[in-house]
Symmetry: D3
Subunit: 251 residues, 6 copies
């Protein structure tokens, strides 16, 4: 949506919450938040709060039956009261919006990158990621929390003898990065997100490889050097999140 000649970048403002540009917001991962789910995590990235619940069920979707392979899928949604101004329910509107579809698909793909379908056997794990409060970065918080819920669901299945091996081949975490006033910053809250010239979501495995890279020039298209600095920053953030995930899982 670039069109006005960019003004010479003004002196960048410090971040509202006083963080360094490459610093995450306070992250918490509360496991076992629900009594019934096979795995459940309340994940918080600052004021962003997402409930990630993993439900495990025997069987797989029809197109996969008899393959011996499992399946992992995800559904993302926002509570109407999670946003600054109340948003309408998609169930009331009778249709799911493009953004919701897009994020649900992204979460599912990200988690499947670390799943060995054969070891999972013909089981399906569904990750419900419901945003209770939104303050930027809900999709990356959802992926980061959903991985932990997924790990718990795998443990739950394993303890019931329902697995054919170890389904998790690694861990996965995600973070947003963006350019604010010409400066790359990590883990944007809502206030920074709306001001970002460029916005990028990065999903990486615990061993530092990329699963998804999605960058969008909300305002001015960006050059290769800027892209490189965003990728560096995202890799740093994902590495930090991986440590937090490991601690949460007691490892």
């Amino acid at each position: 949506m670039a069109h006005t000649p960019s003004a010479p970048p003004s002196e960048p403002q410090p971040r509202v919450d006083g963080r360094a540009d490459d610093e995450l917001r306070p992250i918490t991962l509360t496991r076992g938040w629900l009594d019934h789910a096979a795995g459940s995590v309340l994940v918080e990235f600052g004021r962003t709060r997402v409930l990630c619940a993993a439900s495990a069920s025997e069987g797989v979707p029809r197109w996969r039956k008899g393959s011996g392979l499992g399946w992992v899928t995800a559904e993302y949604a926002m509570l109407p009261s999670s946003t600054h101004t109340r948003s309408d329910r998609e169930s009331v509107k009778g249709r799911i919006g493009g953004r919701t579809h897009e994020i649900s698909r992204l979460i599912g793909r990200s988690l499947r990158a670390v799943i060995d379908y054969k070891a999972l056997g013909e089981n399906t794990i569904t990750l419900d990621c419901d945003v209770l409060q939104a303050d930027g970065g809900t999709r990356t918080a959802a992926i980061t929390g959903a991985y932990v819920a997924l790990a718990d669901a795998c443990g739950w299945l394993g303890s019931r003898g329902a697995l054919k091996g170890t389904p998790l081949t690694g861990s996965v975490a995600a973070v947003s990065v963006g350019i604010i006033d010409g400066v790359p910053r990590l883990d944007l809250p809502y206030e920074e997100d709306v001001r970002a010239e460029t916005d990028m979501n990065i999903v990486m495995t615990g061993d530092g490889r990329f699963v998804e890279v999605q960058g969008t020039a909300e305002a001015d298209p960006f050059d290769r050097a800027m892209l490189d600095s965003l990728l560096d920053l995202g890799a740093k953030g994902c590495a930090d999140l991986t440590v937090i995930q490991r601690e949460a899982l007691g490892g």
Copy 2:
């Protein structure tokens, strides 16, 4: 769904959680659970957990414009992971089920019973009641919590000078009662709810009058004496909840 001659009522079992028949589950009302909403309450009736958020907006639905009167409405929904077995999202199914409609309408009516539309002015308050975990009595927990969120939203509007008077004419609380093994019991958890021969939801004002009475013979139709004992028990439960609401609101 009665059809077999009822067996002579077996000796009634004590309640699973050791409660007396006329005793509520542990109730908690946590105000201010969200940062943005005009009022928000996490209400817990034992393991049942409902997030009640009140959003206030200027203006009223079209059919009410120019009347000088406000409006209060409610939407109820369950997270897919809230139930013992995961339930499908209504947004994915593309239509809202009859039960959801029914409960949303009940909550809205119940709250409107204690609202003075004129004092509210042409403002709309929407109560979103999202069940995070379901263990019986979600609709009555929702009404009980939503009243507190509504009170906070009225305070919020008042502090902004947006009101024409005092919109709340009283308080409202709700509880379920039922007959289990021939014995009337208060505030049924899921396990008792599915076994109940008769199930009744009672909504009352803080001064002890009825707003809604909904009783259904899930199994054997019930006689007038049984109905009277259920009404007595519900009145007792609503009175107890009224005390808890007052305490939560600091009164």
Copy 3:
């Protein structure tokens, strides 16, 4: 929706149609109104006119297959031209409204209260209750008429040797009661219905037990004494309807 201090009840007006407060409107039950249905009844409560048709089919919904038990369900709808002002078709709107859902579910539950599923065998009876003209009390007229259509459908199935016993364990009838100008009245037409402070629908078996009790304070919440008088009045009305049903069925 109470808010203004109730004025001292004015001297109650006599009823528009000259009825006593505890008197039903003229009731007619015309059996066999359709040529194809297993049972069909045109029920009239004054000017309210509902066509109740029972269709019987072999088999039960999927979740009940192989149980040996039958099923009874109902669908309620209003013709667009049935109301004082034409209402839009739900098929055109593409979704069924909350009120329609609610009433369909009520009718189904009410009829199932007098069904022995085992005796019915794995058959499904669907009751279609289509309001041809609405003048208040359509849901209670529908239940009262649908019971007679259901009885005819059971007879029809029996004459084909499709039953395992006698599916009907009793009869069921329903009536509305309400408080108008502070006075309890039976079987409200539309004009009284919109003026009622409190509105209650009562469904009872032929032997005088309650199947459903649904009371709503449209305006002022009501006290226990008023509730008791409404229950008495409803019981009287259901007893009268039971007599009319028996006569219609030639018993």
Copy 4:
């Protein structure tokens, strides 16, 4: 759907109900069947029974506003219990089928052929044609009955001084014709309809001109001579119906 070489036409059977090939079923037009509608007619073609209700409202659809011209539209639907085997509700399915759409549009076009929009003024008349019992020819019965309801609605509007002139420029009636066992027949009941090789619906004005001609070879394509004989038969049937309409309207 022709494909097998047609067998030499067997000796045609007499009609089940003993009618001559060019004879209508018993036709009745009961005016004023509803209390609220501007015009309402219960039309019966033998066992086919359609309730036609005309609702008049001030104003026209948006695309016609300010033109000074009125509008006439129609909606056709079948009750689930109207058919030999119960059919699902379109409101429950959430979408209107092609056949319903097609017939609604046909009825609307047919009636508009005899309307002077200027004389109608900016009023809309909606014709609801709800099939209570279906035994073939429901769309032609609907048109024939809807014309009478439309005439009554015009009278109703006129008596309220809401018209700018005389909106009806003529009358309109419709009938089905078909080829059974090689013989053209008038006004087919369901049993003949399903056996017809060719099926045609003819809509004509009272002065003998065509409004719609819709012929379909359900089996063998038909030649021009056969087409001509069907047109003759349809014209005869419409003329008979015109007489019956005039009588019903007291003219």
Copy 5:
């Protein structure tokens, strides 16, 4: 929609494109326009351009399984950019309009008139007719082109040994005719179509029999003589199209 007394027909204008009244627009049938489909034809009637693609799949709809008979069906749609002013997508609106349904059904019926289901075996051929550019007569162009795609799909199935015989029992073509300024004309472009007093679509087999005749008085109802002249003109047009189809198919 006739209502004003028709003015004496003014001297008819010559056609915009200089054609004779009984002359088709330039017709082209381009076979094999797509690489994957079993048959595909880009059909052009002047500026009207429709892509007709035939997909063949093993198996038939559920209601036909085990019958040994095949099935042919069609779906018609318009690209949003095909019309003079952009039209909204039906996928975005979430529902298919009546006109689309009507035309899809017409195309399917027309093609089935020349199919021997037994020879087709339990295969389904779906004809997708997507209007790329609309300039009147899209449905008749679609039928004319779809027949050629269908013939190619039959050849494709035959070459794979998937047939039980020769499914095509003949050919089928379609054309529109109408009355403009009192004069019957063949194959109307958009500009003439909107001005036509009467509009008729005629579908005929290659041996000159009628499959469908659909005539509508858009303005004045028409008399029998006018109807006869339209039928003559349509028969002439279909005969011309049959020749062009044969040439396209190399016969």
Copy 6:
């Protein structure tokens, strides 16, 4: 979806169509393919064929009214017959799938990156990108073609005096890149797309800056070196496409 330990990369196969790894498929851009649209382009990337039509209309969506700014939006869809195996219509399914939403949004964002909303004035340009034949890379072909249609629509608006300046601030093109057998390749056809371990879509401006970068590890997560080589390859492809776009536009 990685899970099996990757086999040592086999010797990479040459490309099916003999192209070099950094070579585009034959690209054609046919302007003016439709008669009515403000701009229309049939774009071909090998056998992938997308019709891009730009419709211009006065006014903007409601949320933008009175801002003096224009709007550009896009809708992507696939014809059912465009895919190797016929796919169901989204209009028939009644809902738009996640992939369609995602791509429509991507195209819109990409084009808006080179639009000066002020210069466009309060006009809306809608780009309809309908896939006529799909052989991989439909979304990148759509963006590349839609840019040319957009340029034509701007010219069309300019020639009518409807603009406030020059809305295009640059050009935009897009291409897919992927890793096949461990080797980065440009512009994947369907056959390569399904085999790709990693798949990336790159959207760039004519002056070599990034608008969107979307990379997904369909199989093994990828490291930074591989990501860098994909970005280089994409930049090369977009530069080549920019030359072709300029030529097509006569520049």
